[in-house]
Amino acid sequence: MTESRIEKAAALQLIQEGRKRSLEFQSIKIEKIIEVLHGVGNVWAEGSPYFVKALEVLSRELNFSKESIYQTLLLVPSLCDSAASVARIKAELGGLEALNDFVPTKTDGLFVKAQSRGVILHVAAGNVFLGCIDSLVNGFLTKSYSIVKLSERNHEFPALFADSISAVDTEGILKDKYKLVFWDRADKETEFAFKQNVDAIIAWGGESMVNSYRKDRGLQTQMIEHGPKISFQVVFADAFKERKFAEVARQAVIDVATFDQSACSSAQVLFLQDEVDQAAFGEALVTAFKKFPIAAGKMTEDDAVERLKELARGEYNEFILGGKLVSGSNFMLHFDPSPGLRLSPLNRSLIIKKFSNLKDLESQISPFKSYLQCCGVAGSIEAQKQLASLASQWGVTRVCGVGQMTSGKLGAPHDGEYLLRELLKWTTYER
């Protein structure tokens, strides 16, 4: 089940085939799906042939450092892990059984079943290479037939994952329930065929991509969007009552350096409360960047231009507005005196802004209300709780500790939605 370039006629045929397979999928118990998936995860253990091959392929294909790719590949078994799958399903659906049959609810005589939407087109983002695998696993766990459109820069790794499914899945539980495909961006006919005929599209990526899939959808085609997001950190002055600058800085840097800021949950801006000694905290951040154990990835020429723009901005702020710019070989810190959340040039570039109180913070982030994702916070429990309560009103969909932004808890929603639930619809049976 390896990747293939697809055109309109084949796309329509594939969707028809997908409908048949999707029906077959419904008769397979979720427990069996989880078991096979777990087996797939096992062959991706650290140092396994798939692991080694993927490390080689991805190091060639992507700009991330080898260490970064290594660390990310370690996550593959956990994506497929049976205990994790069970925990996720329980957290989102209450239990496994609803995926197999009608289950009773608390209302007398009311039974519900979690039903797959059918044929799902997954449009994978290229920024985090595990994204398409994660999305495919969600497809399996919801008994959906998955058509995964690969991003331009990430082909070989998904093909390797497909190969591992074929090798493990001797009973044919998963291996014919998905297809990896790609088509040229200019091939609007094929795109149109998918948009008109699949049951749902789950789109991960940038604004223009999400917009293009919104348009021309069939009446029955559900759109599940995970468009562009921005994440930030908040460090309260009381964070340092019990913790040292070095400790908070070390954790803040994890959120910036992991994946070289390419994840939506990567911190781009750190808001530092007025009372904090900016220079001392800055020094701690510099040390933490220098000590971060995973090497930074390679920048593209276009990345370098974004970095130049930020360097120029930083230099101007330093000369005229009292800002400060510190740049090292693998990081950039810009203490920007102008208020307001904004985009960082990424590749380990953190913009630091000051805030006085929560009202001030709200005014600085409010223009981005619809695009806020994660807020990493360091402060007393009281300050964290207060922020979490307000942040949810501001549009933030996840609040966590600084240092945890790019990881996440099992069963937690993503972008404010439960991912498995998005791929399902509930059928009720009222007796």
Binding site: S208, E301, D302, E315, L343, S370
Partner: protein, 366 residues
């Protein structure tokens, strides 16, 4: 700006040693003005341990610190008192923030003069009256846009007949729209008049118009010109090679291919880089173009693609005399008689994922 006036009295394509040395002196002169009147410029030069007085040869121009173009979009950067500003121009803002450029009377006069000189040297300034069709915004409603300023300038190289702007303002909708019927009528009117025609502006709209009316043909004759500029913008998917476009225009409008000239310009850097008859953008002696590696900012060899770095001397009201752009380009040579070097522009630099993204749009409006 005595030396700069002297420079502008020379032929723009005079590359004699004397002319080149005059450019260096002119650069030193204008740098001195910014050094004295612009705090950021001065601090930048001080950081690089360089003074305007040390600009005395081509190498010193090349190594003078540059200001990156995004700063002109994010900060007001003027080197003259507010009272001296005669005109504020903004860029078209394609895919990003708009630059705000402050021109005083002197800079305004110089940019007009140098543009005239360049067009004259290319045989594009004439005494015969011409009708103008401008594929741009009606300046009555878009007085601060750089593109409108450019149109106004480009219609000044001949006595003006009728000037028709294709993008009209809709009072009700409060936005510009492409006036297709009006444009078609103007083309017919211009052909009937027998006067030479000059068509200016974005190539995509003219191309799309002619493509949508396959039977539409005009014969505007050898004294007519088409001068494009601004690239294909949001119609990049439909862009055709320059040579094909030139032949298409010759066939459909009867304007000789050698009279179809593209131009590259920026509101932050007012030197027009105009095609010669062979379709190559020429660098006049009023400017220097260096191509830089985006990682090291070192100059790359001619023919190699990198970031375009422009130097010029005409402007003392804002400090863009050494401007690092976010455009990819390379420097080459041409076999035509103009001499000097040519500029090839290869498109926008920077991450596409940041462009056209809602997040970026929010930033633009802050």
């Amino acid at each position: 700006m005595q030396v700069t006036q002297e420079l502008l009295s020379l032929d723009p394509f005079d590359f004699s040693e004397k002319a080149k040395q005059l450019f260096v002196k002119s650069f030193s002169e204008v740098a001195d003005h910014h050094y004295r009147n612009n705090q950021y410029f001065r601090k930048l030069w001080q950081k690089h341990d360089i003074t305007p007085g040390s600009i005395n040869d081509e190498i010193s121009v090349e190594t003078a610190p540059s200001i990156m173009v995004n700063l002109f979009k994010e900060f007001d950067m003027s080197s003259v008192p507010e009272n001296d500003v005669a005109l504020v121009l903004t860029s078209s803002g394609t895919g990003g923030r708009k630059s705000k450029i402050f021109l005083n009377e002197g800079s305004l006069a110089r940019v007009k003069r140098l543009a005239f000189n360049i067009h004259k040297a290319l045989g594009m300034a004439e005494q015969e009256e011409a009708n103008y069709l401008c594929f741009s915004y009606d300046p009555k409603h878009a007085t601060d846009l750089g593109t409108s300023f450019t149109d106004d300038l480009l219609t000044s190289f001949t006595p003006r007949g009728e000037v028709f702007y294709t993008f009209m303002w809709d009072d009700k909708a409060q936005k510009f729209y492409f006036n297709e019927p009006g444009t078609l009528a103007a083309l017919e009117r211009f052909e009937e008049s027998g006067k030479p025609v000059r068509i200016l502006g974005l190539p995509a709209y003219l191309y799309r118009l002619l493509k949508s009316y396959p039977d539409l043909k005009f014969n505007f004759g050898n004294r007519s010109w088409l001068q494009t500029g601004g690239g294909w913008k949001s119609f990049a998917d439909e862009e055709i090679p320059k040579e094909t476009f030139r032949l298409f225009i010759e066939q459909r409008l009867g304007i000789p291919a050698q009279n179809v000239r593209d131009m590259f310009g920026m509101v932050e850097h007012g030197i027009p880089y105009v095609d010669c008859e062979l379709g190559q953008l020429h660098i006049p002696n009023y400017a220097r173009v260096f191509i830089r590696d985006p990682f090291t900012l070192k100059r790359v060899p001619d023919g190699t693609t990198g970031l375009i770095h422009f130097c010029c001397t005409y402007v003392d009201s804002y400090p863009s005399i050494s401007l690092l752009t976010t455009d990819w380009g390379s420097v080459g040579q041409c076999s035509c008689k103009l001499g000097g070097f040519t500029l090839n522009v290869h498109g926008r630099a920077g991450n596409v994922k940041h462009k056209g993204c809602a997040l970026t749009s929010i930033e633009m409006n802050l």
